[in-house]
Every structure is written in structure tokens, then in C-alpha cells.
């Protein structure tokens, strides 16, 4: 039952928000809802009971239930979503925003849809929520976005939608393969013994939607421009949670259902992802727009996670799920600081910045801490995740580990470069009036940074949370290993 509550709280609050006029009340209500949701999710994560689930028959003639449930993987994603949304909402507090009622309603709708994605127990429901996330987000980007939002949002929308269309086709195809009265339950899907040759092409049908959402090189071209023009809260949702949705989808669909297809394309995808790692990192180095730079940095990190996912051994999976959490927290904190910088300087162009540390030393320190988290310095969460991921990659091949490890070097290059150009150097005459952080900024940033550090120093709870599902997943590819040689490689 509690899963239904988690799903509905943001949705209902969102509806209520549409009726309220007072901006402060709206934000407080949204925040309250997000915090209640966080509490509920944490109670799930740390409860000792068997997993809660909810199911009611929905579309009878298709035998589709409205079935919600979760496992370790979902729980990580849920925790991340519930954890980040209070901060995403707080990012708008004490700030002038147009039409706050609509904005926060849309944000909460997005949350609800995201939670739905992570809770869905059948592919049909999954798909509905998957598409549903796009609609409120589309409006957030379109209505509150920056320069060129119309074209960029359009591209983003069409691009992801195109991907989803393939997914829908894949789901229908799988549905038609189910025995007897057809069904879309994941549990039934994973029992299908799809012929290996079919799996080989089915892989791309299913994967392309996730590849676009994550995004994997070369399906990433919507991302930099979208991140750059998106409003802070929108980009936080996009980078913090939405990308993880792609990872989650891939974990749900690819590995249990078409393991042979995954095994067949494994190296291709890993190599693509590692190209993405290097490619995005190298590009990030010369970016002059801070948001674009972070967009590429995020892409590099996500690509590494994708590589880890496809390696699919124990360490890589542990690292992946840990990194999901850590990257989400770090990127939200990063974008928050970016928002602060933009507010204070009125620009995102690096050449127009500099010397801010002299005027806002505390902001500089917190920014540096987040940057360090992002470049995976030990004792930050990023390190634990990336260490395990690289360990996992190493188990597959030392070259994978080497190229994956380049994120650490290249990340240090571009992130520190960006930090230096923003914060360090001489004071600029046109940036004289910069003030340091306000109370609300501390309220947002300190917990995030604390989380980054705490997870880096004591990551154990997260490992324990996902242990079971990692153990299940890592064995998924084993039985199909024998099937593969018969395929033309």
C-alpha cells in the first residue's frame, strides 16, 4: 500500500498546488510533500518487512494490472528521486519565479511519474509512466527555459519520443510472445525463451530508448543544448533523475529479458560508452559555457556507468548503483552552484567570470568540494562508485579499465579548469557586487555535500541495500553464454 502512497503524494499535492495563489505557500507545500515522500521512501528502504506491493486489475481484456512493487534496484532509484526532489524544490525557494503554482505542480507531476517508472511491475505501466515523465518536464523546459528553448525543447521531445516508440514496439513484440493469455508482466517477460537471433535485433529496439535517455554516445546530441537552456530545476531533474531512468530501464528490460542480445552487443556498447567517456571529457575541456561543460561532464560520468552496466559483474553493478546515487547528488549540487553563479554574475560564460572567490569565499569552498566529489576524490561518494566501476571494468579487460579511468584524469582537467576560471584569478571590475551565500543556499548545499562525504566515508548501507538484486543480476548472463557461439559475431 505504501508504494501507492509514495506514487500519489506528489501527484495529489501537485493538483492542489494548481489552486493556490501564494508563491511561498506553494513552495512550502511542494517541499512538505517531497519531504513526506522522502520519509516514506526511507521507511521502505530501511524496513525489515517483506517488500510492499500494490496491484489492482486495470485493463482486463489485455490482462494488464496496475501493479506496483520494488526491489533493490528500484529502491536505489526511488531513494535517489525522493532524496533529490526536496533539494530540487528548495532550489526555487526565496527566488522570484513566474507562475509558481504551475511550475511546482509540474515538478511534482514529474516526480510522481518518475516514481511510477521505478515502481511499475509490468512493461505496459512502465511505458506509460516513462512517457508521462516527459510531458510535465517538456512544459517545465518550454515555459521556464532559456534562450532558444522552443527549438531545443522540440528536439529533445521528438528525440526521446522517437526512442520511446521503439521501446513501445519492443514491448508489444514481447507481449505477443508471451504464452497463453498475453501479459506484460516483467516476471513473465523474463521467463520468455526468446531465440538468440531474435534477441540480437530486439536488443537495439529496446536499448535505443534507454540509450537516448541516458544518453550514450552517439545518441547524446540533444543533451548539451537542452541542459544549457533548461531552467535549473528542470536540468536538475534531467541530469539527476531522468538519466538514471534510462539506466533503470536498461537494467529492467535488457538483462533479464534478452540476455543473449546483451551478451552479443556487450562489447559494442561498452566501447561506445568508453568513446563517450573520452569524447565528452575532451569536449568539456574547451567549453566556455559552464552549463554546457557540466552537461558534457555528466555525459562522461553517465557513459562510464553505462559501460559498468554492460560489464555486468558484481563490482561493476555495485559501483553502478552506488554511482547512480552519488552522481545524482553531485550533479544536483553542481547545478545549484551553477545557478548561484549565474544569479550573481548574470552570465554562464567562463571568460566573463573570475575572481569570485575573493568576493564569495564560502561559495568557492563549497563549489570546490562539489567539484572534488565530481572528480572522484577519495572520501567522496564519487570515488567509491568509480573505484568499484573501474574494478568491474578491469575484471572484463584492463583496457576498459584504463579508458574508463581516464574520467578521473580528464575530469580533473576540465573541472578544475572550470573552477579556476570561475572562482580564481583577479577580481573583475564588472563583478564587484557579488555577495556570498545566503541562508537558503547553505540549507541546500550543506546537506548535499554532507551526503557526498558521508557516502564516501561510509558507503556500506547502500551496498547492503542493493546486495540482493546485484546478486540476481550478475548471474543473468551466465546461462546464455553457451548460446552465443552459434551466432555470427
Amino acid at each position: 500500500m505504501i508504494v501507492l502512497v509514495i506514487l500519489l503524494i506528489p501527484f495529489i499535492t501537485g493538483l492542489l498546488l494548481l489552486l493556490i495563489r501564494n508563491a511561498a505557500t506553494i513552495k512550502l507545500m511542494a517541499l512538505a510533500s517531497a519531504i513526506v515522500n522522502l520519509a516514506a521512501t526511507l521507511s521502505l528502504a530501511f524496513s525489515t518487512q517483506a517488500s510492499s506491493s500494490y496491484s489492482v486489475s486495470w485493463i482486463n481484456f489485455l490482462d494488464i494490472n496496475f501493479a506496483l512493487g520494488y526491489d533493490g534496484t528500484s529502491l536505489i532509484m526511488l531513494s535517489l528521486t525522493s532524496l533529490l526532489f526536496p533539494f530540487i524544490i528548495m532550489a526555487g525557494m526565496k527566488r522570484e519565479q513566474e507562475h509558481p503554482g504551475l511550475l511546482y505542480a509540474l515538478i511534482l507531476f514529474t516526480q510522481s511519474a518518475l516514481i511510477g517508472v521505478f515502481l511499475a511491475q509490468n512493461a505496459f505501466l512502465f511505458y506509460i509512466f516513462w512517457e508521462l515523465t516527459l510531458i510535465p518536464l517538456y512544459f517545465i523546459l518550454l515555459l521556464w527555459g532559456g534562450e532558444g528553448r522552443r527549438n531545443i525543447t522540440f528536439k529533445f521531445f521528438i528525440y526521446t519520443l522517437t526512442g520511446s516508440l521503439f521501446l513501445l514496439f519492443g514491448i508489444i513484440y514481447l507481449y505477443s510472445l508471451t504464452p497463453g493469455l498475453h501479459t506484460t508482466d516483467f516476471s513473465v517477460f523474463s521467463q520468455l525463451n526468446i531465440p538468440a537471433n531474435t534477441q540480437v535485433w530486439l536488443f537495439w529496439v529496446l536499448f535505443i530508448a534507454f540509450a537516448i535517455k541516458m544518453p550514450v554516445f552517439p545518441f547524446h546530441t540533444w543533451q548539451p543544448s537542452t541542459y544549457t537552456m533548461a531552467p535549473t530545476q528542470g536540468v536538475m531533474i534531467l541530469a539527476g533523475v531522468m538519466t538514471k531512468m534510462g539506466i533503470y530501464g536498461a537494467l529492467r528490460f535488457l538483462f533479464p529479458i534478452i540476455p543473449a542480445g546483451v551478451l552479443y552487443w556487450q562489447n559494442t556498447v561498452i566501447i561506445l560508452s568508453l568513446i563517450g567517456v573520452i569524447y565528452a571529457s575532451v569536449i568539456a575541456f574547451r567549453q566556455t559555457n559552464l552549463k554546457t561543460l557540466i552537461a558534457f561532464s555528466s555525459m562522461a560520468h553517465i557513459s562510464l556507468m553505462v559501460a559498468a552496466m554492460f560489464v555486468l559483474n558484481y563490482y561493476a553493478l555495485q559501483g553502478l548503483l552506488f554511482q547512480v546515487l552519488s552522481h545524482g547528488i553531485t550533479i544536483v549540487a553542481l547545478f545549484y552552484v551553477v545557478m548561484l553563479i549565474e544569479e550573481k554574475t548574470g552570465t554562464l560564460e567562463l571568460p566573463k567570470m573570475g575572481g569570485i572567490k575573493l568576493l564569495a569565499p564560502y561559495m568557492a569552498i563549497l563549489f570546490l568540494l562539489i567539484v572534488l566529489g565530481s572528480v572522484a576524490l577519495p572520501l567522496t561518494a564519487g570515488f567509491v562508485g568509480e573505484f568499484l566501476i573501474i574494478t568491474g571494468l578491469f575484471q572484463q579487460s584492463i583496457w576498459f579499465a584504463l579508458f574508463g579511468g581516464f574520467t578521473m584524469v580528464l575530469g580533473a582537467i576540465y573541472m578544475l579548469y572550470a573552477y579556476q576560471r570561475v572562482m580564481l584569478g583577479e577580481k573583475r571590475p564588472d563583478l564587484e557586487n557579488i555577495t556570498d551565500l545566503k541562508r537558503i543556499d547553505y540549507i541546500v548545499l550543506i546537506p548535499l555535500i554532507t551526503l557526498i562525504l558521508v557516502l564516501g566515508i561510509y558507503p556500506q548501507p547502500v551496498f547492503n541495500l542493493v546486495e540482493t538484486s546485484v546478486n540476481t543480476m550478475q548471474n543473468l548472463l551466465v546461462p546464455v553464454a553457451d548460446v552465443l557461439p552459434s551466432l555470427p559475431l
Partner: protein
């Protein structure tokens, strides 16, 4: 299992004090006035030092060789158990004592040196953070905890090099240091992972027990050691990753003393000494280390000959000395390497602090061509500096003599060519150090308007203590030649397994020592002739020079080479990726798909002329086709 040593759990206090100091000085940044931050920070390091001493005696009293203190489980997943544990053994104790001891002195010195800086509180916070990281590095009981410290010191080095962040060049130097270290770290972490897969653990003691099961020259061990070596090369500024260290002199001088001379840069030597058991199994890697070490020692010494910045000279001398330590490691004389680390930390810290005094006195001037005649104005600094110079040059009975002689004799055992090359490097070292000494302290004062004066007590007392250590530090390890029993080496033997080698006969050794002393005397005399008697002052920048001098003065153009070969192409690659691949290939392809759809639409729209007759035709044709299709299928 060995029984728990009472009170050994105090070990966590050693890193905890500097961490506390960091938190206090960092969080109360704005509240602390005057010297408060410096005093707190120094006190914390001093406390650490005291605890280290206590630990030393505890361990000695217990009669055991090592103790592990597990604080908590850091990463514990199936098959991978990485505790956050500290290891107290003779090697880590040595390093702890160096780090906290020399560190405390440098902290105290900094109180005076950084007195006028507006961000003095941040400085001490970062220094304490550095000490904390360095202690983690040397105390970690497994490679991953070591790695935490390893990266932590890299971070602090970054922060402190760029401490005066208004200057873009300093920032660049800081970033360069961090990135070059990171390149090494990548190799290091890959090495750790390979270690993990080979031994299923990263804890030192467990690995070393298992390592005996491997044959000498086992490929996997060779690979591990090479990967670890990459990390050490980055951290200890060896060829090819050494260019960051001279640039790192952008930081305040105490930072150069603490981080870039005494402690952090020796982390690579510590790590290899720690892994001595593994390295003993990989002769190939040892040979690589010899080559790297010797090449670094000589090239850096050569470059040092023509440097005119007081700190740059010292920086290259550090690189060169680190090369000697590497040489020792490569020869399998790990303890000798660590011994040189110890003495080097004394005299190099002293040199840097002395240089700091000089810079302080000269009002920030660092160019030795503009100094001179300071001997009279700053006698105390002069004497301490002299002591350090003698020590680094290897004049007996100063500390450097003992440690360097140990390395040289090991080199001689290995091969005479090595010995000659190493000795050549030592002679060059001697030359440029005396060049520095003479140019700074002898002759006439060349900078008009400067009023050099002796530094305050808070700065001179550490100098004096360090000079005492530099002078007598060598007596920690009196070789059998002088009726000693090599105490230091013996002490380390429980933690570091040096390669067995036959001892040189005393007569050979005496011969070698006398020979080298003779040569050293000659070099000192030559330097005296050049810089004091003839008062030759090095050429100004831009003046024509002979080819070789120019090559050296420009540091063999290695920096420029790296810029051309790596940095610029990296920028071009970035531009290429962004402008050509991203914006001219990938993105347009996607856009093109969209445009094509819309173009096809435009084309199809032509059919929609609005002509009813045409529609009717189309409809009929459609029906026809449809029926035909049904008939055929």
C-alpha cells in the same frame, strides 16, 4: 594471531589531531585572529608528533613489529573487504615521525612566514588537511587507504600551490600538479585493482604473505609493480612526470618545504618501499626504476645548474634527490631509499625554510642574481643554510653523507657505470648547491633598496632544530665501516625487505669515499672560484648563451615539448570533437533526420494541390492497388 598491543589504538589520534585542526581552523576561519590559527594548527601537528613518539615506544615495549588498528569497514561487499585500518610498523612509524616532526617545525615556521597574509587561517587549515592526508598515506594498512591519503595530499598540494589564487600562473601550476599526479594516480589505482584481483585483498600484510607464492618475474607481479610505479613516478616527480614540481614552487615557501620537499613527494618512495616484497619479485620493474631514477637524478641536476630562481634550484635539486631515492629502490636497497628520505626531509626542509627566510628578508625577491652578501645580514640563516648545503652535497659527517654514500655504494655493488653516473650527479648537485650558496650569501648585495634582516624567532628556531637534524641525522645509521651497526636499516628491516647483497669490503668503501670526497672538494673549490673569486653572475634572461647552457637553462625544453605534444593537441582535439564531430557530424545527422521528415512533407504537400479530380484519381488508384494486392496475396 598476535595479541593486541595495549594502547596501540591511540594510533587513530595521530591523523585525528590534524583533522581536528583542519576542521577548527577551517570552520572558524573568520573568527580566528592573528596567530591563533597558526598556533592551533602547529599544536595539533605537535600533538600528533607526540602521539607518534608514544606509539614508537609502545611498539618497542611490546616487542612486536607491527600492529593494525581497524577503525571501521569502509567497503565491505562480497569478495571485497576494505577496512579503514591503520598500520603501525617501523616503516610507517618512521614516516609518521618525519611527517609530524618536520611538519610541526614547518607549521611553526609558517606562523612567522605567513604572518602578514590575509588568508593565513585558510593556509593553516590546508596545511593541517595536508598533514592529515599524509598521515593517512603513511599509516594506511591497505592500498586503498593509502590511496585516500595519496589523493588527499594531491588535493592539498593543488590548494596550496594555488594558494595565492589571484595569479593565473600559480593556478596553472596548481592545476598542472594535480593533473600530472592524477595521471600517475590512474596507473596507481589500476595497479591496486590488479592487486585486488590477484590477491583478493588490498591489505598489505595479507598481500605480502601471499606474494611468496609467486615466482620471481611473474608477469602479473611485473604488471602490478609497473602500474604502481606509474603512480609513484607521478607523485615523486620522476621522468617523465616531473615538470609539475618546479612549477609547484608557486606556492608559499613553507608549502614547498613541507609538501614538495620533505613529505609528499617522498610518498612514491614510501609506497615502493612498502611494496618491497612485490618489487623484489619483479626485476624488470626494478631495472626500470633504476633507469628512471638515474635519469631523473642527472637531468634534474643538470637543469639545476642554470636556474636563477632560488626556489627553482631547490626544486630541481629535490627532483634530483628523489631520483637518487629511486635509484636506491631500483637497486633493491629500499631501506637506503627510506633513509635518504629521512635525511633529505631534514636538509631539504631546512633549505627551503632558509630560502623562505631569504625571500622574506628580500621582500619577496627570488632571483639569486639580485641577492648576495646576505652572510653578514643573516648569519643564522647563513649557517643553517650552509649546514644543509653540506649535508645535501654529501660531506661527512653531515647526514646527507651517510644516506647518499649508502646509495652510491649500493650502486657500486650493482655496476661501476651506475656508480660513476650517480657520482657525477652528486658532483653536479654539489656544484649547483654551492653556486646557490655563494650567489646568495657571498659577495656584495646586488639589489638596491632592500634591507635584509634576520627573521623572527618563530622562524629561526625551526631552522636551528632542522639544522641540528641535518647535521646529526646521519648518525641514525652509522655503517659498520665506522663501527656502527646500521641501526636505521636494521630498524626498518622488519617492514621492508631489501634485496640481499654482499657487503663491500671496508677497504673498497674507504677508497670510494675518499675518491668522492676529493672530487667534491674540487667541485666546491671550482664553485668558489667561479662565483666568489671571479664574482661571475649568471647571465640575464635573453642573453645569448652557448647551445648546451641554453638547453639546460630552458630545462631541455621539456615543458615546451609537453605543451606542444600533449596540451595543445588536447585543445585541438577538443575543438575538433566539438566543432567537427559534434556540431558538424553527429548533431547535424540527427537534425537532418528531422529536416528530411519535414522536407518529405513539403514534397508530399505538392500532391495536395487541392484538385478534386486528382484526389479522385488517387482514390481510385488506391482502391485498385488495394484490390490487386488482395488478389495477389
Amino acid at each position: 594471531m598476535v595479541e593486541q598491543i595495549p594502547n596501540i589504538n591511540l594510533a587513530w589520534l595521530v591523523p585525528a589531531f590534524p583533522l581536528l585542526g583542519f576542521l577548527v581552523t577551517g570552520l572558524a576561519n573568520r573568527k580566528l585572529k592573528h596567530n591563533q590559527a597558526g598556533i592551533i594548527a602547529s599544536a595539533m601537528v605537535l600533538l600528533s608528533f607526540l602521539v607518534s613518539v608514544v606509539l614508537f615506544f609502545i611498539l618497542r615495549a611490546s616487542g612486536q613489529n607491527e600492529a593494525t588498528v581497524t577503525l571501521f569497514n569502509w567497503i565491505s561487499i562480497s569478495g571485497m573487504n576494505i577496512p579503514f585500518a591503520l598500520l603501525i610498523d617501523h616503516l610507517s612509524l618512521t614516516m609518521m615521525l618525519i611527517v609530524t616532526g618536520v611538519g610541526a617545525l614547518i607549521h611553526i615556521y609558517s606562523i612567522g612566514y605567513m604572518h602578514d597574509d590575509e588568508r593565513v587561517n585558510s593556509f593553516f587549515a590546508q596545511m593541517n588537511l595536508f598533514t592529515f592526508s599524509m598521515l593517512l598515506l603513511v599509516m594506511g594498512a591497505n592500498y586503498l587507504v593509502l590511496f585516500i591519503g595519496w589523493e588527499g595530499v594531491g588535493l592539498c598540494s593543488y590548494l596550496l600551490i594555488g594558494f595565492w589564487f589571484k595569479n593565473p600562473e600559480y593556478n596553472y601550476a596548481a592545476r598542472k600538479a594535480f593533473v600530472m599526479n592524477r595521471i600517475g594516480d590512474l596507473g596507481f589505482i589500476l595497479g591496486i585493482i590488479l592487486l585486488f584481483f590477484t590477491f583478493k585483498t588490498v591489505t598489505f600484510s595479507e598481500i605480502f604473505v601471499q606474494a611468496s607464492g609467486f615466482q620471481v618475474g611473474a608477469p602479473v607481479i611485473t604488471l602490478i609493480t609497473i602500474l604502481l610505479l606509474v603512480g609513484a613516478v607521478g607523485k615523486s616527480a620522476q621522468i617523465p612526470l616531473f615538470t609539475w614540481l618546479p612549477d609547484a614552487m608557486a606556492g608559499p615557501t613553507p608549502v614547498s618545504a613541507l609538501i614538495h620537499a620533505a613529505t609528499m613527494v617522498t610518498a612514491g618512495i614510501y609506497m615502493i618501499a612498502r611494496s618491497s616484497i612485490l618489487y623484489n619479485l619483479a626485476p624488470l620493474t626494478l631495472n626500470i626504476i633504476i633507469v628512471i631514477g638515474l635519469a631523473t637524478a642527472i637531468i634534474a641536476a643538470l637543469i639545476g645548474l642554470k636556474q636563477n630562481d632560488i626556489k627553482k634550484v631547490l626544486a630541481y635539486s629535490t627532483v634530483s634527490q628523489l631520483g637518487y631515492m629511486f635509484l636506491a629502490l631500483g637497486l633493491g636497497a629500499y631501506s637506503a631509499g627510506v633513509f635518504h628520505v629521512t635525511t633529505h626531509s631534514f636538509f631539504k626542509a631546512l633549505l627551503f625554510l632558509g630560502a623562505g627566510s631569504v625571500i622574506h628578508a628580500m621582500g619577496g625577491e627570488q632571483d639569486i642574481r639580485k641577492m648576495g652578501g646576505l652572510r653578514k645580514k643573516m648569519p643564522l640563516t647563513y649557517f643553517t643554510f650552509l649546514a644543509a648545503t653540506l649535508a645535501i652535497s654529501g660531506i661527512p659527517p653531515f647526514s646527507g653523507f651517510f644516506s647518499k654514500d649508502l646509495i652510491l655504494s649500493k650502486a657500486f655493488e650493482h655496476s661501476i657505470i651506475l656508480y660513476i653516473l650517480a657520482l657525477g650527479g652528486a658532483l653536479i648537485t654539489c656544484f649547483y648547491m654551492f653556486r646557490l650558496l655563494y650567489l646568495v650569501f657571498f659577495g656584495e648585495q646586488r639589489l638596491a633598496g632592500a634591507h635584509p634582516h634576520e627573521a623572527p624567532k618563530v622562524m629561526t628556531i625551526p631552522l636551528i632544530i632542522l639544522s641540528v637534524l641535518s647535521v646529526f641525522g646521519g648518525f641514525l645509521n652509522i655503517p659498520s665501516l665506522f663501527n656502527g651497526d646500521s641501526e636505521f636499516i636494521t630498524f626498518l628491516q622488519t617492514a621492508v625487505v631489501s634485496k640481499a647483497s654482499e657487503e663491500l669490503s671496508h677497504s673498497t668503501e674507504i677508497g670510494l669515499i675518499l675518491g668522492s670526497l676529493l672530487l667534491l672538494g674540487l667541485v666546491i673549490f671550482l664553485a668558489y672560484r667561479t662565483f666568489v673569486s671571479k664574482s661571475i653572475i649568471p647571465a640575464k634572461d635573453g642573453e645569448p648563451m652557448p647551445f648546451f647552457s641554453k638547453l639546460i637553462a630552458n630545462r631541455f625544453y621539456i615543458d615546451e615539448m609537453y605543451t606542444t605534444v600533449f596540451e595543445k593537441p588536447f585543445g585541438y582535439l577538443s575543438d575538433f570533437f566539438y566543432n567537427k564531430v559534434e556540431n558538424s557530424l553527429l548533431d547535424p545527422v540527427v537534425d537532418e533526420i528531422g529536416f528530411t521528415t519535414s522536407r518529405v512533407g513539403t514534397l508530399l504537400r505538392k500532391l495536395q494541390q487541392g484538385n478534386m479530380s486528382f484526389y479522385l484519381f488517387a482514390m481510385v488508384a488506391g482502391i485498385l492497388l488495394f484490390i490487386i494486392f488482395i488478389l495477389i496475396v
